[in-house]
């Protein structure tokens, strides 16, 4: 390892530019024997002594304005997107509900109306008026008693204390009775024709 004294001597004997630079540094450096630390005070003073010169053309205010305007626009756009997304979801849900209401529920209501309108007794009267001979046959009487019994079941459900059109389990029972009455009606028609 080089000794510090020798290292200094080597540096002093270098080219003239280097010598000049070294002299300048040497005048301001505190030598503690190891050349380990630059005098900070000197550097601070040099920085403080720097002259204050304003740029000929300052671009910063324009840049600053541009950056801030873009950010503001971006933020507005994001907020608008969010509002539009919520609005679109609500519109979608409403339209889905309307479609379900119009297509499915109205159909089932219509179906129920058909069942309600076409009472079993009037149906049987119509069939018997059209096919009086078949009406007297034992098989027809069996079918007739079955459909009347089902109709009575329907009346029993509708008059029970639990009957509530909003209750899914009651609706299910009603639907089942209606579908079976429908089955029997078609069987009666098949039988008489």
């Amino acid at each position: 390892m080089k000794r510090p004294g020798r290292y200094l001597r080597d540096m002093k004997n270098a080219d003239p530019d280097r010598k000049r630079l070294w002299r300048h540094i040497e005048s301001g450096i505190l030598i503690d024997g190891l050349y380990s630390e630059v005098n900070r005070e000197m550097l601070d003073r040099a920085i403080r002594d720097l002259p204050e010169i304003l740029p000929v053309r300052d671009l910063w205010p324009a840049l600053d304005q541009h950056i801030h305007t873009g950010y503001r626009e971006m933020r507005n756009r994001r907020l608008n997107n969010y509002i539009f997304r919520i609005a679109a979801t609500i519109v979608f849900l409403l339209s889905t509900y309307l479609v379900i209401e119009l297509v499915v529920l109205s159909d089932s209501r219509n179906q129920q109306n058909i069942f309600q309108e076409e009472h079993v007794e009037s149906f049987l009267n119509q069939v018997c008026a059209a096919y009086p001979k078949k009406c007297r046959e034992a098989d027809f009487i069996e079918l007739k008693s079955e459909i009347i019994r089902l109709n009575n079941e329907k009346s029993e459900v509708e008059s029970s204390i639990f009957f509530n059109p909003a209750d899914a389990s009651i609706t299910k029972i009603n639907d089942r009775i209606n579908s079976q009455i429908g089955n029997l009606k078609s069987q009666i028609i098949d039988y008489v024709e």
Binding site: Y97, D139, I161, D167, Q180, Y191
Partner: protein, 285 residues
């Protein structure tokens, strides 16, 4: 988002309030004793356990847009669990004041009952479903306007059903079904089974230990899926309808369709399938 969805699609449900009460009780029970359940508007779940006692939990909830009505109507619902000389009586009922003719809330009553094997179970249930699983007992079930589910049950059964969907998966023993206007979906049925029904759809899949199946129906469409067809003797009769034999039955000495009655002996005399219907078809697969 889910709340908005519910509010949009089911506004009444989202806005309604629920009044709720719950009971829990247990009663010691010996072998061959009777558990009698009389319930209305209830969904019963009955399961087997190894303890010599009955354990019952009943949850009653009434839902209405007006919470005061829900609470008031919940007060009409009563529950009893009484120990008797022969066993236990469990029942729920609705005690309406004279001026009330109907309950306006949507009622939901759920029973969970654990009972031991080898007892007599008597269930009378209306407007609700009944599910019995893993039980070996003498079951006497009368269900009206609800569904019946039997899973892995054994013993002797007598089941009366009105306007029910009856679903069975795993049954072994002597079973007698007397149904009207019910749909049957019976799978893996073994032992001796007798079924009577009026209007409905009926599907049967015999298990490996089926000895005897007799189905009588006036207006049901009957579907039978037999895996080991040569094991049985068949007596199929459709008075005013069609017997449709699937491809598995092509070796039968009959035409495939439009037979009023098919009698065919192919198996042991003790194994028989008898189906009788008047106004609807029989289909064998």
């Amino acid at each position: 988002m889910a709340a908005i969805l519910q509010l949009v699609i089911f506004p009444s449900q989202a806005l309604s309030q629920t009044a709720f009460k719950e009971f829990c009780d247990s009663v010691p029970l010996g072998k061959n004793m009777t558990v009698t359940i009389t319930s209305k508007k209830s969904n019963l779940v009955i399961m087997r356990w190894d303890k010599s006692m009955v354990w019952v939990k009943v949850s009653m909830s009434f839902r209405n847009a007006d919470p005061a009505i829900a609470r008031r109507e919940l007060g009409f619902a009563r529950f009893n669990c009484i120990r008797t000389a022969s066993g236990v009586n469990i029942n729920n009922l609705f005690a309406l004041p004279p001026d009330e003719i109907r309950i306006n809330s949507i009622i939901n009553i759920d029973y969970i009952i654990y009972i031991p094997d080898r007892v007599t179970l008597v269930v009378n249930n209306e407007y609700g479903s009944c599910r019995i699983s893993d039980l070996n007992a003498f079951i006497n079930l009368n269900n009206k306007y609800g569904d019946i589910y039997l899973e892995r049950v054994r013993g002797q059964m007598r089941i009366y059903a009105t306007l029910c969907d009856i679903r069975v998966n795993g049954l072994n023993g002597f079973a007698e079904f007397n149904a009207s206007n019910s749909n049957f979906f019976l799978k893996n049925i073994n032992g001796n089974i007798t079924i009577a029904n009026k209007v409905g759809t009926m599907h049967f899949e015999p298990g490996p230990e089926l000895n005897y199946l007799k189905v009588t129906s006036s207006h049901s469409e009957i579907n039978l899926k037999v895996n080991d067809i040569s094991r049985f003797n068949y007596d199929l009769s459709a008075k005013n309808a069609v017997i449709d034999l699937g491809d598995n039955f092509r070796h039968f000495p009959f035409n495939q369709k439009s037979k009023e009655r098919v009698i065919y002996h192919s198996g042991d005399i003790t194994h028989a399938i008898e189906i009788l219907t008047s106004y609807n078809s029989i289909k064998l697969h």
